[in-house]
Structure formats: structure tokens, C-alpha cells
Amino acid sequence: MRRAFATGNFAVAEGAMTAGLRFYAGYPITPSSEIFEYLAEELPKRGGVVVQMEDEIASINAVIGASWAGAKAMTATSGPGFSLMAEAIGLAVITETPVVIVNVMRAGPSTGAPTKTSQSDVFQARWASHGDYIVPVYAPWSVQEAYDLTIKAFNTAELLRTPVILLSDATIAHLWESLTIYDRGEVEVIERKIPKKVSDEPYPPHKPDEDLVPPMPIFGAGFKALVESLLHDEWGHYSPTNSVYHSLVKRLVDKVVKRLSYVYEQETRFCEDAEVLLVSYGSTARTVYLVIKELRKRGVRAGFLRLKTLWPLDEERIRSCCPNAKKVIVVENNIGKIYMDMSRIFRNQDVFPASVLSLELPTPSEVLEAVEPWL
């Protein structure tokens, strides 16, 4: 264990290396590039490979290929690059490839404001690619948590053989805070299952174990892997039938939902006596926490729910986190997206959107202004 003074971007890079990162492919894009640059310095010293590809499409596809060759693999980008990676997220889903994709959010749409912060990609992170699937999404609110949730993202990816999205933003990316970096052995690091032995006979390589996750027959070990982007059965054979479609898509979803208690994380404060619950996540939650303390000084019984996992949501835990709250106010730096989830989940409370559309971290007065009409 060692202490460092670091930005969120450095923390993501350090977290990835603690988790066992061996391959990074990327394309420069603000505000994520320091992750790439830092790894370009550090990862080769630890036996890993860092490569700059011709675009984000190549980067994510190389990362998926590297994962199949047995390496823990990651890429980092921002909105425009993440949009280009959309198709390959679906490839990682259907081929059950553990990869971590970091999206350091900046303001959009399109080229938007590259150096400025935003939380507008929270739905894109979930649904970037076409088709039915669930990918876990984590959103850190501090430099330390950028480190911790990067490790968690790798662990989730390896445990469930799924792509995992880490949603940082320009604020967290360039924020300097103290950081505790752990050595191997000081934190839990999960490795993917691989088949126990090479089979001489043909075998169904996509047949899952009880946890719904098949062992991963990585390349170069004699497993004769069959990585298939088409709808496939347990043998990896293309089979456009409803029975194969149902069993594959449901398993891909269920393997994540089944481990919801592992995947989903949240933090609550002041919920014991809270009558009004403020929900937030990522960098904006920093300001919201400050505002809640201010409101409590003024006598408002405000509680705090901070989502660390943005998808999938543990609706039961969210619903029961603050039993006496009559009102729920969702504060976020976008047009009010997670608000839509909360208004669905909190069926018996009044749920209000408190959107602050800002290119900077929302200030306490901006948050207060957005929250006060609903108090």
C-alpha cells in the first residue's frame, strides 16, 4: 500500500494495473488521454502492452481480441469515441468477453465541449449497442473511488464475462486528491474461469456452469475456441431459432441480474430521519452532499443516496434505503435521466428532477436553486 496525490485519470490507470491490466489500446481524446499516456509510461514496465490504434473502433476491437488471448484488457475514451465503440460493446456482450471501457464524460452532443464536464452519457453507457443485454456501469465520485471502482469493474468483467463501463467525467478526471494505491494481495482481484483441460473430443464451448457463465477457452491453449458474433447455441453454431435466441439472450441478462448483490453498490447518508431524499451520483454528488449538510443546518431533514452502480439498479435497495422520505429529488448534470429511473422505482413518493446543465461541476448555489422549488 502506498499513498499518492493523483487525478481521477491517474487513479483509473493505477486501479487497472492493480486489477492486473495487461493490454491497453486507445485513441487520444480529451478528457481521457492521461489514462492512456500514464499507462504508456507505466504498463510496459510491468510486462503489459499499450498501443495507439487508428481509431476507437480499432481500439475496442483490439481490446476484445486481447481479452480472448488471455489478457485483462481496457480502453478509455470520451463521448465521441464511446459512440464509435457502440457496436463492439455488443460484440463483447454476445462473445462474453471481459473488457473494461472507461468513458470520461464530456459535454455533447457531437464534438460538444471536449474540455468540459457532463453526466449526459448515463443512458448511452447502458444502451450504446443494439440488441437486448445488460452491461454493468459504475460511476465514481472521487479520485479514490475512481481507483476502487476500476478494480471493481475488472472484477465484475472477469466474474461475469461481460464488458463493464466505468463512467468518469471531466471533473473527476482532472481532480487532484490523495489516493491509496494497494499492492496485489491487499485487494480482491478476480480472474476469469478457463476450461480445466483441453478436450480431445469436440465439446460445447458456450455451455454455462451453474453461475450461467461458461469457462472462457482463451486462444493459444489448444481449446479450439469458437468466438461467434452471430446468435449461437452452446456449440457456437449459428442458429436463428427462437429457442436458441431465448436461451442465449436470457442467459446473458440473467448471469448479470443473478449477481446483482455483487454488481450493485450504493451509499446512503442521513437516511435515518430523512423526509426528503436527494439522489445523485458521480461528480455532481460531491456538490449535492455539501448542499445536504447545508440544508440540514437549516433544519431540512434531507437524506443522501449516491449511486455507485448506474446499471443495473437494485430497485429494492433503492426503494427501501430511506423509508420515511416523502419526496425524492434527483440531482444530475444532464436533462434528467436517472430521474426517469427514480420516478419509476419510488412509486409511493413524489419524485422531482433537479437538473443542473453545467459545463463545470455544479456549484452549491446552482444545486440549491434546482432543489429548493421541490422542498
Partner: protein, 276 residues
Amino acid sequence: MALAMHVHPLDKHLRVKRLPTIFCSGCGIGIALSAMLRALDKRISEGSVNPNKVLWVSGIGCSGRAVLYLNYDVAHVLHGRAIPFAIGAVLANPELKAVVLGGDGDIAAIGGNHLIHAAKRNFDMVVVMITNFIYAMTGGQVAPTTPYGVYTTTTPAGNPEYPLNVIKLVGALNANYVARASVTTPHLIEQYFYKALAMRGFRFIEVVATCPEMFGRHIGLRDSVEMFSELKKRVVYRHRPSLEEAMIDWEKGIVIGEFVERNNPSFIELLRGVKK
């Protein structure tokens, strides 16, 4: 007689349970694939290639389907993205011998940028592009290699574009090996692929193929044998031709041969600090 076991000498390279293939009668992909497997078989039996380290990667299209019948590590990934997928796999495990197989649409149109940059890097892989002059799997739309003026389902007034000569494109970059063969010369496919397997860096082989079902239908050569004979008439072999000679013109002729042969350090060797 009926009890006799018929085992094809290439069966051990195939997932035989999966046969027959989806390919149409008269399709050139099977000729190309069996020529490549004969070359690979030779490399394996002489001990210069470890079959457990061979990785076949393909994108989308008829040619992309070919790898699914191979009894190796195989990946059938996104349209156009076989090259970057293979790059990631090889960088993560440099012992892998990656072969990317795809059609001209997959490799040179949607995947064109990856092709350029893999060749520019002299990346450690063999890319075999099967050129059939048409998008066949999707039903006969115009391809980057479709000759000028040809009717396709998306160019009903005739193709207004001149075709892309992929050999000249890749030859202008930093590839160690650039060759073209035809399904009418399977011995050359075998010979070039055999040679490419033992080389370093980026190796590119274009295989000109027959597609009577789609391209043939558009140009009035719907009959498999007739299409094959017509292609055969157009193919001209040259010994070590220059890139300027790399003509691929359905009217004037298709020059095959080995256009570029170099021995420059590969991308991974350069990463490791090898200078020559």
C-alpha cells in the same frame, strides 16, 4: 463397399460435424480455403507451425463464414473489424499466428482503414482477401472492387465508380509480402500462403474468386463452369511483377504473382527494439 470410411486428408483441419458449408455451387471460397489448408498442413507436418497457436479471424460476409469450419481457435467478429481484433490478440500473446480471412467488402471497404494501418505498421499477421467483385451475402450490391459500369442491385444504372486496386494500395505501404492469386490457380494460393506463413510482418494475399450466384448473375455468367472458365481466361501470371503491373480489370485482364517481398522488422519486433 458401403462400409468403407471416407476420410478427406484435410478433415483434421475441419470441424467436420459442421459440414456441409453454406457456400453456393461454383463459389471460389472452398478452393481458396482448401489450398490454404494444404499449405498449413505442410507447415504443421514439417514442424514450423504449432496448430495450437494458429488463430483464424474473420469479419462478416461469405468469406468470413469460412473460418467457422476450421478446427482451430477461430473468431467470427464484426463486419470490417477482424484485423484490429487479431492485432489485439497477437499483441496480448505474440506466440499466436493470426490469419485474417475476409472478402473485399469486409477487408477493403468497411475495414479499409484497419487494412491501411495494419500494413503501415507491418503488423505480424497474414491477411487473405477473397475478391469476388460483389457484396454476395447481402444479395449483390456494389463492392469496392466491382468493375466500372457493372449493374448491381445498388447501381441499377451501372457502377459509376472505378474499382479499388487493393494490391496497389497495400503495396504502397509497409507490408512485407503482397501477392495475388486466383481460384483458377489454386497451386499459387497454396504456394503463397505457405510462404507467407513463415514470413514476418504484414503479409497480404488477394485471391480472385468466382461468384456465379451474384457477380456472375450481374454480368451474364450465371453458370459455374462458364464463370470459372471466363475468369481463367482473364488471369495472367507474371514472375515477380511490379506494382505498376498489378492490373485487375475484368475487361483487360487480371495480373497475378508476387508483387512485394521484403524482410523488414515486424511491428512486434520493433516494439521489442529489434531494428533489422
